[in-house]
Amino acid sequence: MLLIAQALRLLWLTAWAVLRLRLRLREVLVQFHEAGVRSALFVGITMAFVGMVGVYQSASQMAKVLPEFSALGGAVIHSAVREMGPIMAGLLLATRVGTGMAAEIGSMSVTDQLDAMRLCSVDPVEHLVVPRFLSSMLACLALAVLGCVVGIAAGMAVAYTGFSVLPDTFLSLRFMRMSDVTMGVTKSLVFGATIPLVACACGFEATGGSEGVGRATTRAVTLASFLVIVQDAVISLLWEMSTR
């Protein structure tokens, strides 16, 4: 797909700009606020539900095998840090921030603002993409952490009220290894890097008025979400293979 080629090209240009330290730190903070802070409530609420559902599911599974829930907390925490935290942060970020970026840059593209920028000797990649790239990686990591904390807390509440699992028992790190944390962090950073590149690529390609902006936002969220899942599978596989 042409878009992936565009996104890869943006990756190259962005990496180059970052290496030359064209960072626009103030803008990075602004974008972080937009992407991270303003998504926090959304991610928090969603992860609370996911955590609670996860506990119900796992508990009912365990009940079929042996009616004893001491492993419940450990499993939930392990799954949250390794998988659910990063992947949900990634998907939700792709949803909220991916569409936002694609919409913003798309409408700039469609109204010639990108061309105007080029004529003012400002490179749109340096000016627009780099801050979003950096802030998105940080935001994804932060939201993954937030998501894990909220999900585990909500799950713990449900485990206590529904299955009488004491918080002490729940908060067990028996399944956790350092490599799980590393994997979770890596995933969050990778997702956080992919989403702005895809969204901005879609935005740059937008042509044709409001219809073009609509198309760009749709393609951005579809492709970004899909890539999050693909990358999750790939990273999980690679990790597994390397720790065998």
Binding site: T111, A116, M117, R118, L119, C120, S121, V122
Partner: protein, 252 residues
């Protein structure tokens, strides 16, 4: 640097296409440094496209484009960034940055482009805003302004940057007579004081004639007249004569 008698900008048999449809057909033009050229013609005739080619935003696959002694067409894109630093274009649809206020919009090429400090850029920006009459609105957002005001901001953005090649696409459309006169006079005095090569595309022919020395008429992608402004009434092409005639009548 460019030799004294080399043209600032030159197009040689340029054909620009949108898909397969040609919008500029074999256009050959040359602009000397410091000239003020008026570009006239009906809507859809190719004026905006010509300005986009001159500003390097569209690169034709056929023909050659030379700006400041450098070739910049589809086959030669090296150094395009340097060339662009000397060009300013006022867009027909304004292309203002909607997240920035008027001041930041006008200052953009100085502050964000040439990386000047805001204080250094301030006098230029302030002067440009004064000249278009929008100083009181320096901190408004584009969405809060009328169409005519946004157009003036776009013009101020070009003027503040003081480019060597200044292009104006429909600078006075939709402006009231007072502001129209003011803007055209501003473009004229800007060209004189900076010696920039200036191209103005407009339908307001009566106000155009006093400030430009040369007129180019573009009809359906082809140049039908290219000569002194004063002699356009006696040009060979009847289409052009009738067009100028009705434009004069329309604004009486």
């Amino acid at each position: 640097m460019a030799a004294l008698n080399a043209p600032a900008a030159a197009l040689d048999r340029v054909t620009l296409r949108y898909g397969l449809r040609p919008v500029l057909k074999g256009v050959s033009l040359s602009f000397r440094q410091g000239e003020v050229v008026g570009l006239i013609g009906p809507g859809g005739g190719g004026k905006s496209q010509l300005l986009k080619v001159l500003s390097t935003l569209r690169t034709p696959w056929e023909g050659t484009v030379t700006l400041f002694n450098r070739r910049v067409d589809a086959w030669h894109r090296h150094g395009i960034v340097d060339v662009r630093a000397n060009i300013g274009l006022q867009f027909q649809n304004f292309a203002l940055f909607d997240s920035l206020d008027v001041w930041d919009n006008v200052a953009f090429s100085l502050v964000a482009g040439r990386k000047l400090a805001r204080e250094t850029a301030s006098p230029e920006v302030g002067r440009a805003l004064e000249e278009v009459g929008l100083a009181p609105f320096a901190h408004s957002l584009p969405s809060e302004l009328s169409g005519g005001m946004r157009r003036r901001v776009a013009i101020a953005r070009v003027v503040a940057a003081r480019p060597a090649l200044a292009l104006f696409d429909d600078p006075v459309a939709g402006l009231d007579p007072v502001n129209s006169a003011r803007i055209m006079a501003l473009i004229g005095s800007f060209a004189r004081s900076t010696g920039a090569t200036t191209v103005v595309a407009t339908h307001d022919i009566p106000r155009l004639l006093p400030i430009c020395t040369r007129l180019v008429a573009l009809f359906d992608g082809k140049v039908l007249y290219d000569g002194p402004a004063a002699e356009v009434d006696s040009c060979e092409s009847e289409i052009v004569r009738r067009f100028v005639e009705s434009a004069r009548e329309g604004t009486r």
